[in-house]
């Protein structure tokens, strides 16, 4: 190989290295710029409200229900549900079970997008008078997690215009576990004797809500 060819090849390699350094420099510059912009544009998140600030201390009595199976019959139908004495976000007492009336209980997690879609439906159903007479409706705020979106849950219930009763679960989700929650939203229908009529994991439309509430009334005889 001639010296001229070798020199040309070396020159090409040097030019190539210069190009690679340039591209690498541009990439590093972009990353540094991104970090700078991020630091300057990111504000502190509102995590002033902790789980401990929100969580309740509900008292649970009775045997817990097994977790709702993903498919097939619910083995807990007809068995006694636990009774719970707790409070809402303001500390006002709220109880589930033992009221002597059929009850419809919905477990909601504020971070859950399905719950976020469901709660306005519930509000519209309540405002339209969809809850049958004699049925007590209660929501359980569960899945408390300050690191997840849409925190805190009390602000969410208020923003959505929910005016019904809310029982706040504890930080461990004990009420949800006692009712065998498998996923949110989670519905439990109880008859007047506090026995399980049905449990459903998932979103319900207003017609299904009415049907579930009426099933609780029908089972109450």
């Amino acid at each position: 190989m001639s010296n001229a060819a070798t020199m040309r090849r070396d020159a090409k390699r040097r030019a190539q290295r210069r190009s690679q350094l340039l591209y690498a420099g541009i990439a590093v510059g972009v990353v540094i710029l991104a970090v700078l912009v991020a630091v300057l544009s990111t504000g502190e998140r509102d995590r002033a409200v902790s789980v401990d600030d929100i969580a309740g201390e509900p008292a649970i009595s009775g045997d817990p229900l097994s977790t709702l199976p993903a498919s097939g019959d619910d083995p807990t139908v007809g068995s006694s549900a636990p009774t719970v004495e707790g409070a809402d976000f303001d500390g006002t007492p709220v109880a589930i079970g033992g009221s002597g009336s059929p009850e419809l209980v919905m477990f909601m997690a504020s971070w859950c997008p399905a719950c976020q879609e469901e709660l306005p439906e519930v509000v519209a159903w309540m405002e339209a008078g969809g809850v049958p007479d004699g049925v007590q409706l209660a929501s359980v705020a569960t899945g408390l997690d300050a690191s997840r979106p849409n925190w805190p849950p009390d602000a969410w219930f208020e923003e959505e215009g929910y005016t019904g009763r809310v029982l706040v679960d504890d930080a461990d989700g004990s009420v949800a576990q006692a009712f065998g929650l498998s996923a949110t939203p989670f519905w439990v229908a109880l008859d007047a004797d506090g026995q399980v009529v049905a449990r459903i994991a998932g979103m319900l439309d207003t017609t299904q809500m009415t049907a579930l509430a009426e099933a609780a009334v029908a089972s109450s005889g």
């Binding site: 190539q16 990439a27 972009v30 912009v37 997008p113 979106p149």
Partner: protein, 192 residues
Amino acid sequence: MIAVAERVFALLALVAIVIAVATALALARRRVPDWLRDDVALPLATAIAAVATGGSLLASEVAGYVPCVLCWYQRIAMYPLVIVLGVASARRDSEVWRTALPLSGIGAGIAAWHIAIERWPSLGSEVCDPVAPCALRWVEEFGFLTLPTMALIGFVAIAVLSLAARRSPIHTGREPNPTDTAGSLTDPTSTV
């Protein structure tokens, strides 16, 4: 600190959108510049895969965001791309698109479905798993950049860059270089 990291990754995703669109336009016009094809496309695709991998590990291991099943499927597609593209970049393997495209295509499809479930939970199972729900938006920057959205951008950018790196008369508008016919390994100096 996590919030700053999320913003950094979101900004880099915006940069990746620009890169993907510009590269796609060059491919559509069949005018991929030599510097992009020979020197930039594969290292950039590798960097995007590496940043996406680093971001997903940061999200799960540092921020504590539990990956859902769809996140795992996207990881399965993205993580190998770091090695595949990294090796191809070092070897200047212009044929790596044959591996990178299926991986990024599958990943992009899963990411698109994940985005749809995030936006419309009723499309999916209509429930939230208490531990790792796929509909949960752990991150949402600039109103639209969620984790699967950033993953989708990464997959698309990698796909178009790996296509831009290939030496083909279809996309370059030039006759293939004789040195390319021996296989995927090409002489890096042949087109400079």
